[in-house]
Symmetry: C2
Subunit: 393 residues, 2 copies
């Protein structure tokens, strides 16, 4: 199992890895675009591959409710269903304990959800989470965990850690007993909120159980950036060097570079795709608000030299027009650009780690990149296509 | 000017043509996808070219209001603005006299609109319509006309015809005087409602003025199909054989085949793109409602043998899931399929006209194709991306 991940240190000591899965290899550090509902919003799988995306995320809870994990299984699994031949990591549903808090009750043996779609009962315990991920055909499955909110006192955090550890052990046991021949990797998830000692303890006890990789969860739940980085810093030293480390739900370009510097290998985040649909494009200088009036007659692309179709073929003036005219092509083009930006950032990170110039690259990037004055709130309203409604009109 | 259109009769007498423009040749009969706001909804220009689209439509009124025809002109014209290198035909705004009736007043010298976006005054007379289309850089410009509603009594229809003829002559004069060296073609538009003698008279008087091509307007305004075909049949015999004939805003696959049989060369319609966004795909058997429950686990493509990416790479089950999950990719894929269906239908029409088998092809198509029980109403609500709203959230 160990050969599933090869990791080496670059000249400056930063990590470079290769993660092997049944659907091919993934070079780390890696960014994984989010395809919650078996699609990375607005993008075709071919287009993702063309950008250089090597692994995608999908979601246990959402796909189990719709279209149903049995349906996906009968259609040949998630790869065939969504026509994506590279690796897929599925989140376990633990994050929905946080994001869908009004719809769930955490019990000692799992989580009872009332479907956010139709109110139907849906129970997710360690066994259910594993069975669903197995039916989906995930290359990397995540243990079921309890992701607590922020802020969270030590007693609450302790309770979530104990439950998460028990569920993690049960997920591990399920895999050994029920899917011994499976090529799927199973990752544990470190919880513990902003409590360093809890983070360390949770990490140690997960390592005792033994997983193919380790994620740091319970970050990106509204905490200030310094607390987020501290949660990473408390967890990483307890994790084995020869297993991949994954920071869940993170982050901005600068956060990702900071976490790479701290030994994290894998990242996922809705940020590039979600803010694209709100008209925000990433550039080396920071955010570019595509629909702003100052771009009305701007002949420049979003970003000079960017190889994405938005930058190769269209001006800011045209993209601004598409956003103002509420055209779907606007969402496509800025999503394409933002994913290209992230994937190229990770490529540059790997290249500079290899060359021993990552630290200079990171510092140069941070100097040039001006973070937005007001960060995009995580509860930012997502744009909707009212296609269901319209389909019945 | 005559060499702008070469037309020949196939062995059965049906028309085959080549229309030359500054941006290349168009083989007729041809279907022109609608890109009202300088984008064919959800599609990239490259993708349209790949399907075989040879000419697009755009709209004078809409582009003049947003982003503004001066903006488009300063950005190098519509071709460069939207990155489309093949021909573009621009509608004059005459159709908005019908579709935006609550927002306009028809005067003898033109139409006063109150912008449907912000209520601003906007006057469109023959000169304004020509100037805007010239600024956009249209390969084919349309005269300003008055498109009356249906039903429409003879007095009202007569009024619209007289105004349309006067405006047509003024458009013709503007072109001769103000843009004598322009490569743009100018098409006249036959009005007359459901009144055959008015149609004939309008066609004859337009031909006396003399245009590069002739459109039949005031169809597809809610009239029953037999009346629509009669309006075509009344107009076509009055039009010169050596000029292209264009049925505006039409139609369904079967209507288009019927109109080709009656000597029409050019067609445009929002039907394939609009119903795609409502989850309806075209097949040789008729409509396929992609989101229907019976496709939940259907492994087949929308249409066997179709070369579009939706059919090559995805099952009905997956497309149904995307629609139910309100994913933008659903809109893209079904739009792509429907445009492919239309473009291939036109290709088959040209091939069979050339081979002398069009009549059999048309009859075979009509036998197999089952029209929808309830036709999609033309006022069907369009799906909206609420991106403007979300962008400010």
């Amino acid at each position: 199992m160990n050969a599933a991940f090869e990791v080496a240190a670059g000249p400056e000591g930063f990590r470079l890895g290769r993660l092997r899965t049944a659907h091919g290899e993934v070079a780390t550090p890696v960014f994984m675009p989010v395809g919650t509902q078996a699609t990375v919003k607005t993008m075709l799988p071919d287009e993702l591959a063309q950008i250089g995306v090597s692994i995608l995320l999908a979601n246990t809870y959402h796909l189990h409710l719709r279209p149903g994990s049995e349906v996906v299984a009968r259609m040949g699994g998630l790869h065939r269903f969504m026509n994506w031949s590279r690796p897929i990591l599925t989140d376990s549903g633990g994050y929905q304990v946080f994001s869908l808090a009004p719809f769930r009750t955490v019990r000692e043996h799992g989580v009872s959800f009332r479907s956010h779609l139709d109110g139907a009962e849906c129970f997710l315990g360690p066994r259910e989470a594993m069975e669903i991920q197995s039916r989906l055909g995930a290359d990397i499955a995540m243990v079921l965990d309890e992701c607590p909110p922020w802020p969270c006192d030590e007693t609450t955090a302790r309770g979530a850690v104990e439950r998460s550890l028990r569920w993690a052990a049960e997920c591990r046991a399920w895999k050994t007993e029920s899917a011994p021949g499976s090529h799927a990797r199973l990752f544990g998830i470190v919880q513990g909120g902003s409590h360093d000692s809890l983070r360390r303890e949770c990490a140690r006890r997960l390592v005792e159980i033994g997983f193919d990789g380790y994620a740091i969860g319970g970050v990106s739940v509204g905490e200030p950036e310094p607390e987020m980085l501290r949660a990473i810093e408390a967890s990483v030293p307890e994790l084995p060097a020869d297993r991949p480390r994954y920071a869940m739900g993170l982050g901005s370009p600068t956060q990702i570079l900071e976490m790479i510097a701290r030994g994290v290998d894998m990242f996922d985040c809705v940020l590039p795709t979600r803010i694209a649909r709100n008209g925000v494009a990433f550039t080396p200088e920071g955010y570019l608000h595509v629909s702003a009036g100052r771009y009305r007659q701007d002949e420049r692309p979003i970003q000079e030299g960017c190889p994405c179709p938005a930058c190769r073929n269209f001006t800011r003036a045209y993209l601004r027009h598409l956003f103002n005219a509420e055209e779907i092509l606007a969402l496509r083009l800025v999503t394409w650009h933002n994913l290209t930006f992230y994937i190229h950032l990770m490529h540059a990170a790997r290249e500079t780690i290899r060359a021993g110039t990552f630290d200079a690259f990171r510092r140069g990037f941070l100097e040039r990149y001006r973070p937005p004055a007001t960060p995009v709130p995580r509860t930012m309203q997502r744009p909707k296509t009212r296609i269901r409604h319209a389909a019945r009109a």
